[in-house]
Amino acid sequence: MKELAWLVPALPLVAWAVILLVGKRLPDGGAPVGILAVAAGWVISLTILFGVIGGARDAYHVAGEWAAFGPGLEIPFGMTVDGLAAVLLVVVTTISLFVQIYSVSYMRGDERYTLFFAKLSLFTAGMLIVVVADNLLLLLVGWEIMGVCSYFLIGHWWEDPANARAAVKAFLTTRVGDLGFMAGIFVLFWGAGSFEIERIIDGVESGRISSATVTLGAALLFCGAIGKSGQFPLHTWLPDAMAGPTPVSALIHAATMVAAGVFLVARMYPVFEASGAVLNEIAIIASITMLIAALLALVQDDIKRVLAYSTVSQLAYMMAALGVGGYSAGVFHLFTHAFFKALLFLAAGAVIHAVHSNDMSEMGGLARAMPVTFGTFLVGALALAGIAPLSGFWSKDEILTDAWTAGFGEGVEGLATSRGVAQVVFVAGIVTGFLTALYVARMLWLTFGAAYRGQGRPHEAEAGILVPLLVLAVGAALAGFVGLGDNSISTWIQTPLLPSEGPATLNLGVIAAASAAALLGLLLGTALYRRGLPEREYLERLPPVWTTLQHKYYLDDLYERGLVRAVTGALAPATYWFDQRLIDGAVNGAGLGTRRLARGLRYVQSGQAQWYAAALFLGVVGIAVVVTQLVGR
């Protein structure tokens, strides 16, 4: 079945072209085309994954030549389908399928309905290309497709300048990281002589690539992951990306785009594992990110922004897991997070539809008005908070267990992360777990608890919206069980190049600590927000903290003042002048100079045939003189 894996990205790509070209003439604006394409991919992906579960662990690799520029510079084109790709294929197609089904109801009547589905299909195709790519250049292609689609989708309602600005910000911020990613690709190519992931990893394992090159390449690749997966300090685009329609947020935040960064690190894991410095860097950045994002999530009024910061924080969990050697724990969390985060976003979308506002201060009491939405949202929220036995609990616990083992426990053989860093990850993980539960409780009480504070009378969403919610709620509740037992996700995604981790071990002490932190957070949140929105946010009593959080640690201001102003204030006019005056000046000058010259010279063309004849005669005489005097001798 793995031979058919190429269809999974190809079908959405075809769907994109079909919807774009003839979508408006198809029934329901072409939406069924996109849904059918991804549904077919979903079936194929599931078959592949069940094959992997059944024991077909060998990576299926097929490659051809894309372009050959002579020996030493061949650009390959191929796909690798192993356990990791199979898991990701299922995640991406599942989320994309239900997001698209949901969008049929959610986006009905939208001005650019057909275009929206075309973009969703292309976005999905981009992520699927990343997942199956066997070489870094093809991966970069999918990566960039996603980059441009995120720009289009976030700016879907571009009539509002704020949305257009958010789209530009997302594009440019991820672009900063992409620059590092591209440089990393070339560094690794320089070291390994190939773009193929397998051969790069082979070169790293066999020691053919010097450790300095590996460290540099891995650090640069991680820059790309920082940008795409919204890690500190490039996380600022993610909350602003909420300007897009809610299904887009769900797709970006759960399955595609942000997952790509984590996937990249997982895919290239042996390269990262070979460098202790980079693993430490990943772990430290992830620890910072998870804490600051969770703190920011505490003070947001916009329900989607709470979820956005929560995504940043949860992605940091995945990165932290990868940083402390928890390869399977990181991928496992990616898997479970996709379900509960997609669910939370889609449920939040249903709420936003009902109350016509993103602002939680205009919500409240919706549990009675929207019982199904509330039920599914509750499942997702508790999974996010890490309450047993929902999915988030299992994966988060595995991450914390890995951090504990690496930091305080017996240690992991051959792990390059230093113990101190692993200890930081563990502490940050526990604290973030507490903060997560706290903002989850705040979000739940402000949205669904107490009394309704908004306008009108909200009512339950329609079936087209509720069905995806219910399906994803089942996924969010049960996805964690794939991590249990002998034949668990950690064995599916093992590659031959990685040391086998064996089944996840449950550390009762870690479980107790994590659950205690989560429950404490939930209880504190309930105590604080049970009566709805307080007169004054509790944190406002700590003015320095409050203003810092309100200003998002001044990072946006820093970028705005430091980078954007410098670019728009000095660099942009300078380049504009250079382009207009020098480049265009040279081009226009060539034309203008010719015209000026011709204005004088054209009088030679007098129309007097006899003048021409005289010139001709003189010319012939001149040539005759030259020939006879010089050549003739």
Binding site: R602, Y603, Q605, G607, Q608, A609, Q610, A613, F617
Partner: protein, 101 residues
């Protein structure tokens, strides 16, 4: 007869032709002057043919070709002049300057 005589004659004939082409205003006279130049060439060809009879015999053939081409040229030239006269009622060559800037 030495070669010099026909060559000097041809040179005078050619110079007269050049003068006519450059200086005469009447288009018919210009055409006739072109004939003079062509015939000066013919004289040269025939003279060299006689002078170098042992090595080559193509001078006369070339002269015949030139006569044929000259006849064709005059045929077309006169036709053009006729049409110009019909359109503009003049055959003054310096008044026909449509192809100028």
């Amino acid at each position: 007869m030495p070669l010099l005589y026909p060559l000097v004659f041809a040179a005078f004939l050619f110079s007269a032709g050049v003068y006519g082409v450059l200086a005469r205003r009447n288009a018919v006279m210009v055409l006739m002057s072109i004939e003079l130049m062509l015939n000066a060439v013919n004289v040269n060809l025939v003279a060299f043919n006689a002078y170098l009879r042992d090595q080559l015999v193509s001078g006369q053939v070339f002269a015949l070709f030139v006569i044929a081409v000259a006849a064709a040229e005059v045929g077309i030239g006169l036709a053009i002049v006729l049409l110009i006269f019909r359109n503009r009622e003049t055959v003054n060559i310096d008044e026909v300057d449509l192809l100028r800037w």
